[in-house]
Amino acid sequence: MTTSPTGPSALPLRTVKVENLSRVEGEGGLYARVENGVVREVKLDIFEPPRFFEAFLRGRHFQEVPDITARICGICPVAYQMSSVHALEAAMGVTITPEIRALRRLLYCGEWIESHALHIYLLQAPDFLGYDSAIAMAADHPKEVEQGLRLKKIGNDLLELLGGRATHPVSVCVGGFYKAPRRAELLKLKPDLEWGLEASLATVKLVAGLKFPDFAPDYEFVSVSHPDEYPMNERRIVSSAGVDIEPAEFERVSLEEHVEHSTALHSKRADTGRSYFVGPLARINLNLEKLFPRAKEAAKTCGIRWPSRNPFQGIVARAVELVHAYEEAITLVDAYQQPALSRVEIKVRAGEGCAATEAPRGVLYHRYRVNNQGLVEFARIVPPTAQNYRRMEDDLRLYLPGILDRSEPEIARACEDLIRNYDPCISCSTHFLKLKLDRE
């Protein structure tokens, strides 16, 4: 980080730069201009080269898609696989079995576990406890960091068992799985999952006791919604402002646009042009009653009032979801019987389909058109972080005026903390953060 040679807030123009935002997935920058105490401009500079996955997919066989889209992210590859297989199954009229559906949910639980544990303990906890890194924090809080590492590892173990490997799993296909695990293999994980459930309940208590800045914008929260389940794989998309649509209507409601300072697209409401918020906080706010029992109890007794509009309390939402993911994983493992067929037969036909699933960071929408040979003619992928960028910029506009009396490094750090609430995966959207603050 570099700061201007000028001093504190009284000066008309000041500049703060954070060359790279730390503890996020990927790299990028932030620019803000403040004139006489008024925030004139905020830009998240997403400077990584665009990755062109949608173009790569054109002309590819549909069955290659989950393997290619998994490469979009090393932290949330399952999300990309899940949204792609559901969208392609919709395009070709494929119906999966309840057993495959349950196995997909279990795989998704593994990803939520490893991603949430990573973010809570290694990426965001240092913000609240006043450390620059998880390494610095580990020296004073080894027990908590060890707990986080073990929580994460169990998620990775689950992914490896179901997916063939923890990073970019290879077992997922359109129609199901190339291979389903044996029941005995899954049962071996149960003691770890049971430990993880207790540890994640302790995590909720830990993070709910943190001190949260007083900040609560008027958000529109958006998530997937299912009548009976906490949202993961299906199906409708709802919002706190009354949206309740099938995924096929998503592009009518949410509009992606290019902005000059970003290689990632920004999403906004098509009608109002307003930003919206996706992720664990949105999910809990919109689906609290559908959490598994212990997760729901933890949410309701941890001292946070839901729905919460404080983005800093996203760490509590993430911890509650960690409980849910462990709890649901145990239930799914208990009920699991190895299916006779791990995937259903696909009858290739031309068609178009879309789906939205819940990546650890929020709604992930995919749409594909395939021809009668099963080759992809069109692909659209709208990642959660890209949907949140405009909301992050809005947050910064609202947050900056209240912290301008601080020193430049403190302002920079506070802005980083605010952005980390979103657990941004810049690589997915395309990558992240420099803060440059001009003040006049």
Binding site: G26, D67, L123, D132, I135, A136, E160, I426
Partner: protein, 193 residues
């Protein structure tokens, strides 16, 4: 489509001294010479007579710590950039001043590597096994590029002479290690091992 499905799994080589040494290949399989550590482990695995465990970690991140658990010694094989000619081999005991951690406060999760892993293990008070790095000086890390001819040649030498590397490490455990060894491109004798 190329599917290195076995890459994240620990595979045991010949039973000899299996728990004492773990050979861990690091790198990016689709970034030119950065794939060299992974490819060497693939070839050692195909050789079938290597000592210890063979592990490939194409995207290790925080999970790198798992590779350092329950083992006496770990040899990392990775592409390195030190300014030497491409194909130069470096055998370096770790920790070493030559492998410095990046500025920790500016790390994204993508910046997490071996140096950060060792720092975290140290902070947690975890036992760190004896460590060494077998580095292959890279030429290009262009995405999708083929490996440089000099790196290919170094790789062939290493795979062929790997028993000598293992013997050197085993001896160094008893007699100590004076410091980093370097072998220029084209040196197939690896004299000194």
């Amino acid at each position: 489509m190329n599917r290195p499905a076995s890459q994240s799994k620990v595979e045991r080589g010949a039973a000899k001294a299996a728990a004492s040494l773990r050979v861990v290949g690091l790198g990016n399989p689709v970034a030119g010479d950065d794939s060299v550590g992974l490819e060497i482990v693939n070839r050692l695995r195909a050789r079938g007579d290597c000592e210890g465990e063979l592990v490939s970690l194409p995207q290790a991140g925080v999970g790198l710590m798992d590779a350092l658990e329950n083992v006496e010694a770990v040899l990392f094989i990775d592409a390195v950039s030190s300014g030497s000619p491409a194909g130069t081999l470096h055998l370096v005991p770790l920790p070493s001043g030559e492998v410095a951690p990046r500025a920790l406060a500016t790390l994204s999760s993508h910046g997490w590597g071996l140096a950060e892993t060792l720092k975290l293990m140290e902070a947690l008070g975890r036992a760190i096994p004896r460590l060494a790095l077998l580095g292959v000086e890279l030429g290009t890390v262009e995405p999708g590029a083929a490996r440089s001819p000099a790196v290919e040649a170094a790789m062939e030498t290493l795979v062929e002479r790997f028993p000598a590397v293992y013997a050197f490490l085993a001896a160094a455990e008893k007699t100590g290690w004076a410091g980093p060894l370097r072998f220029p491109p084209g040196d197939t004798s690896l004299a000194g091992l």
